[in-house]
Amino acid sequence: MVELELTLLGVIVSLFYSLILDGLERKIRAKIQSRKGPPITQTLYDVIKLFRKELLIPSTAPSMFMFAPIVSFSMIIIAYLILPYGFPNPMGFYGDLILLVYLIVASTILLLYGGSSSGNPYAEIGCSREISLLMANELIIALVIATIAIRYHALSLNTVLASLTISPSSILIVLTLLLYIYIESARLPFDIGEAEPEIASGYLIEYSGPLLGLTIYTHILKRTLLYLFTSVVILGLVDNIIQLSDIISRFVTILLFVTLLSILYSIISNICGRFRVRHAVNAVRAIIPLPVLALILSFLGL
């Protein structure tokens, strides 16, 4: 059962690496805005500072206001447990692709429940916007899962990693995944859920101190989780080209893909403005033909 220890190692490494990743993204944003920018470990300092701050609870908020972020944080941690870090994960099972998607949806929803439980109208507006995006986005990931299931008869991440081959539908899958990841991680054109100038940071408005630190950390973890998921799929494709045998090099290539993705997304998100809610939902709807084409191709066996 050596893989079990390695998976746990992979989880711990990616938990800390996600903070460094966010620091890296801040550095890139600073470079694009031609300023020096904070050090790479700035996000780590922020989170630690927030954990030491005092906790403010709105008087009308039920106790769910405190528990929702905690449970949504643990949902994300579980999603990390079933991810294959380059080698078949012993915790994975047939159909855990769907469980992964549901864990991501569950953690966002619980965060929104927590946010709107503060009773602040800004939080509710942010929550309703975030969910409209989530709904529109869900159709895309549903199509992607269907394509993977049809083309590679694989509903578990381990088999996805093992059985992916280079084919038109798999390339389309990767493309759609890249777009899905961009939207799901609420990058700039799509960060209507917590648009700072419009609705005063949406559903995070009432959070302070440790809870705010935890929500920010959950958000960063979710982003890294999505990067990991895509780089697992990409690694599945790359396996057909170059055979990477030992486990450490595969894990390092995954981290490499994750960093590349994060740099690419950070650059893109810094050179565009924010969508109106209607624009965001229409833009997500405009992406739908891509995975539908992938699904049709996979039916034809391509």
Binding site: R52, E124, C127
Partner: protein, 678 residues
């Protein structure tokens, strides 16, 4: 003449009592009738107490009976011959009455028992709101009649009995919907429901009539044995199948015929509407199972047709639910949506079981397991949701989501149970909704069939829509700032609380440890699909890793959902503890309105998903087309007529239905004569 009549009646009742007392299958019905008789003489409080008490005991009995059948596998059978060889048998073929509780009906009676138990426990205090306004006697009569007829439908093996009790259910539920007589909307909804339900009943009667007359047998099991006459004549097979599917899909609220449900359920009292959407629409599923598996054998195209029907229902039902602003109407539309899930899984199962290869049949069994398990789950969390809506109605007397708000602190139990129910209906992992939805996706996606994959895609998308609408539901009732004064609202009485807690515990239990219910369900499926349950169970021994007997997929060790749930609990506790160490004492502050004390700042439910609705106008416009062109003209035909004769609309409805009955019987006879040249 009269003496003869009297003697036959006394003879008839004495035999009736002697035979029925001995059979334990009949005890619940006996208790129901006793309840009705006892509650008639009494008034308000006592009548309500008796009504709830008797329905409580009978529901416990039903649960006991069904569990005994399910666990021991011993089928309860009771047959009673009314009269042998007497002059009437020539004209009237139904000579004997046979009731059977096999695994399939036991499963559905279990659902009836659970939801019936919860709603009767609930009605101890809930009915106090109707004291003085409406007569409790009428309610107890209808309520117990409704429960009894549902129970009898599930256990009747005889076709005539099935139809009679089916009609009885419709009549009693229609009257319950119209229980609050003074509201015009309730009366109109009940008539609409009555007409539509009877239109469906007519199709069922025609289908069953054809079966009975052709095979000359009166009980389902016998028709099942002599089915080869029907099955080799493909046209006859498909007409019967189509007739029965339409008949049952009216009661199962499938899309083109679902319009009665969103009008009828909100008007009924909450404990009845919990029963309505928890159990009554499941009878239609039971009917479909009985017809497909015991009578006509499953067929590939029939399965696909059902799957497509399920797909459209789940899409339109839930999309409509997204934009509702009345709490019970929203829940009713969700019942339509969730029934779509069940029929989709059923269709997949039927489609697969009709094939020959062993893998397909195993996968078919898993699909059936998914559909049955989702029926149970849906009954539980939908019943719970209606009960919570009722408890909110009980305290604030309002269903309008735009005005409610801020009840989380005032009604903690209702809030937590409603939260658990809405989390489980939206399929959040540790709860039961996730397990059944997950199985539906796995089974539909593994079939590699284009239509079923489309069904799976729509199902995953729609589950996000369900989540969205329940976030709106919970936020606008419990979490946001109240617009109307909710100062003096306190928690609802203990009996309502107890029933809600019971159902929510069930939700969690079925989600965290699914192995127990699934073994029961796999025995039911085994009974239904004639594949020995062990082989099915082997595929889901280490649930949910489904070992497909497909070469190449390989056997992967499994991490069952239970382990996921446990992990989740452990993680939450650890983070909770970590929290309690490091952060300083909390400080309670006013909600932040940018430095100003603002009033009525509630973000109304109406304004929640306007953007999403605009962007997906296509789906909503289809509904408008569907309504304007097909359903509304039909609906408009009868109200314009009835509005003019308001007082005699009951007579008109009855005459309309009697005419339909006569017409259907003549048509059926004509059809058989033509088809088989009698």
């Amino acid at each position: 003449m009269i003496m003869e009549l009297l003697s036959s009646i006394t003879f008839f009742t004495s035999t009736l009592i002697r035979t029925f007392l001995t059979q334990n299958i009949m005890w619940p019905t006996f208790l129901f009738t006793l309840g009705i008789l006892l509650s008639l003489p009494f008034k308000r409080e006592k009548c309500n107490f008796i009504l709830s008490l008797f329905s409580l005991i009978s529901c416990i009995l039903i649960i006991y009976l069904s569990l005994r059948v399910l666990l021991t596998g011993k089928i309860l059978y009771f047959e009673y011959v009314i009269y042998r060889g007497s002059i009437y048998s020539r004209i009237f073929p139904f000579s004997k009455v046979s009731l059977i509780m096999d695994q399939l009906s036991a499963y559905f009676t279990l659902i009836l028992g659970i939801v019936g138990f919860a709603s009767s426990l609930y009605s101890f205090h809930y009915m106090t709101r109707f004291y003085g306004r409406l007569s409790l006697r009428l309610f107890s009569f209808l309520y117990l009649m409704f429960l009894m007829s549902m129970y009898l439908v599930l256990i009747s093996n005889d076709v005539l009995l099935f139809i009679v009790f089916w009609e009885l259910t419709t009549v009693s539920s229609m009257l319950l919907v119209a229980y609050e007589r003074e509201s015009e909307v309730a009366r109109r909804a009940s008539i609409k429901y009555f007409v539509l339900a009877n239109a469906g009943a007519i199709c069922i009667i025609m289908g069953l009539g054809i079966l009975v007359l052709l095979t000359n047998a009166t009980s389902f099991t016998e028709i099942g044995q002599k089915i080869d006459i029907i099955s080799e004549n493909k046209l006859l097979y498909y007409t019967v199948a189509m007739l029965l599917t339409i008949g049952f899909s009216v009661k199962a609220a499938q899309v083109p015929l679902h319009s009665w449900l969103p009008d009828a359920h909100p008007e009924a009292p909450c404990n009845v509407s919990a029963l309505l959407s928890g159990v009554m629409i499941k009878l239609a599923i039971y009917g479909l199972y009985r017809i497909i598996f015991t009578v006509l054998q499953p067929d590939i195209y029939w399965g696909l047709a059902l799957a497509v029907l399920g797909m459209t229902t789940l899409t339109f039902g839930t999309m409509m639910a997204l934009i509702q602003t009345d709490s019970k109407k929203l829940l009713a539309y969700h019942s339509v949506g969730q029934m779509g899930y069940i029929v989709l899984a059923l269709g997949t199962g039927v489609h697969l079981l009709a094939q020959s290869s062993i893998e397909a049949r195993t996968l078919g069994c898993i699909a059936l397991i998914a559909s049955l398990y989702h029926t149970l789950n849906h009954a539980i969390f939908k019943g719970l949701l209606f009960l919570t809506a009722g408890s909110v109605l009980y305290r604030t007397n309002s269903r309008n989501l735009n005005l409610l708000g801020g009840l989380a602190r005032a009604m903690p139990i209702t809030f937590i149970t409603a939260l658990i129910a809405s989390l489980s209906i939206s399929g959040i992992p540790p709860f039961n909704g996730f397990v059944s939805k997950w199985t539906i996706y796995v089974s539909t996606l593994s079939t590699l069939h284009p239509l079923l994959t489309l069904g799976a895609v729509l199902a995953i998308f729609i589950s996000a829509v369900t989540t969205a609408s329940f976030v709106k539901y919970i936020t606008s009732i419990f979490l946001s700032q109240p617009r109307i004064e909710v100062k003096d609202v306190s928690e609802s009485p203990w009996s309502m609380g107890a029933s809600m807690i019971m159902l929510s515990l069930l939700c969690i239990l079925l989600g965290v440890y699914p192995l127990a219910p699934l073994s029961i369900i796999s025995s039911v499926v085994g009974y239904v699909s004639y594949i020995n349950p062990e082989c099915i169970m082997s595929s889901i021994i280490l649930y949910p890793s489904i070992v497909l007997l497909k070469p190449g997929v390989g056997i992967t060790t499994s991490m069952s959902i239970t382990i996921t749930a446990l992990l989740l609990l452990i993680l939450t506790l650890t983070t909770l503890l970590a929290f309690s160490f490091i952060y300083k004492p909390m400080r309670i502050t006013a909600t932040w309105f940018c430095g100003v004390l603002a009033r009525n700042v509630k973000y109304t439910a109406k304004s929640y998903y306007t953007e999403f609705e605009q962007s997906y106008r296509l789906m909503y416009s289809l509904r408008k087309v569907l309504y304007e062109k097909i359903v509304n003209p039909l609906m408009r035909a009868y109200p314009t007529v009835t509005r003019r004769y308001d007082k005699i609309q009951w007579e008109y409805a009855f005459s309309f239905i009697l005419a339909l009955y006569a017409l259907s019987i003549i048509l059926m006879l004509l059809f058989i004569r033509v088809m088989l040249g009698w």
